[in-house]
Symmetry: C2
Subunit: 128 residues, 2 copies
């Protein structure tokens, strides 16, 4: 079944993964989560629970609506995110982690731990 909102961005979602159709499991998983903003988006959802589109934009300063939409579609198509639309006016769309998405919990927690520790140590990425 195809929903109206899928017209745009499903192709984009697939493009992000085109190269990972046949490869090792780790490479395949990384193909989904290692794009720009993607892992951070998942982390934000792990930290803050289900969020609406507008809330995600505020939680991820700097992301454009285009990219946010693409990432949400792609993660939904990957089975990590659930999109629920309330038929209200204006519409309310809520994104939450699926059970599979929640399986990343340990990874996300570990990510936060390392990030906070290194930050406290004053670690900074190289200036490009």
């Amino acid at each position: 079944m195809t929903y109206p909102h899928e017209r745009f961005a499903v192709k984009a979602a697939c493009d992000l993964n085109e190269k990972n159709v046949s490869c090792c499991p780790v490479e395949r998983l990384l193909g989904v989560v290692s794009g720009q903003w993607t892992a951070y988006l998942l982390w934000v959802l792990h930290q803050n629970g289900p969020q609406r589109f507008g809330a995600l934009q505020k939680l991820i300063p700097g992301i454009s609506t285009k990219v946010l939409t693409e990432r949400l579609r792609m993660l939904e198509a990957s089975g990590l995110l659930l999109r629920e639309q309330a038929a209200t006016i204006p519409p309310q769309v809520t994104y939450s982690l699926t059970p599979r998405g929640l399986e990343l919990r340990a990874l996300m927690d570990g990510l936060g731990d390392v990030a906070r520790r290194w930050d406290a140590e004053g670690w900074r990425p190289p200036v490009r």
Copy 2:
């Protein structure tokens, strides 16, 4: 003590930031690690131990010398990788994880676990 949105000062700091210098620790860490090939490169080094340039090319089929070089330089500048060059002819360059790079061990192991489990379950990224 959540990041990055819950506090005015933090949000302001985010907004004032140049786009390369992210304020949230998780965002900063992901900025280094989440480029194409980057996390996979780290995973390969975790799995296989120190490797020479040519060996990495074989362990990561499909990566070009240009991108492999760029990623290695970037991770070296980030303090995650150590580059050791033997002054032989032809030169022998070996890349290994620094102590900081080794701090990602738990994350890499978790990554491998999830990837293998999902793979065994038949999970696949979305394809056109």
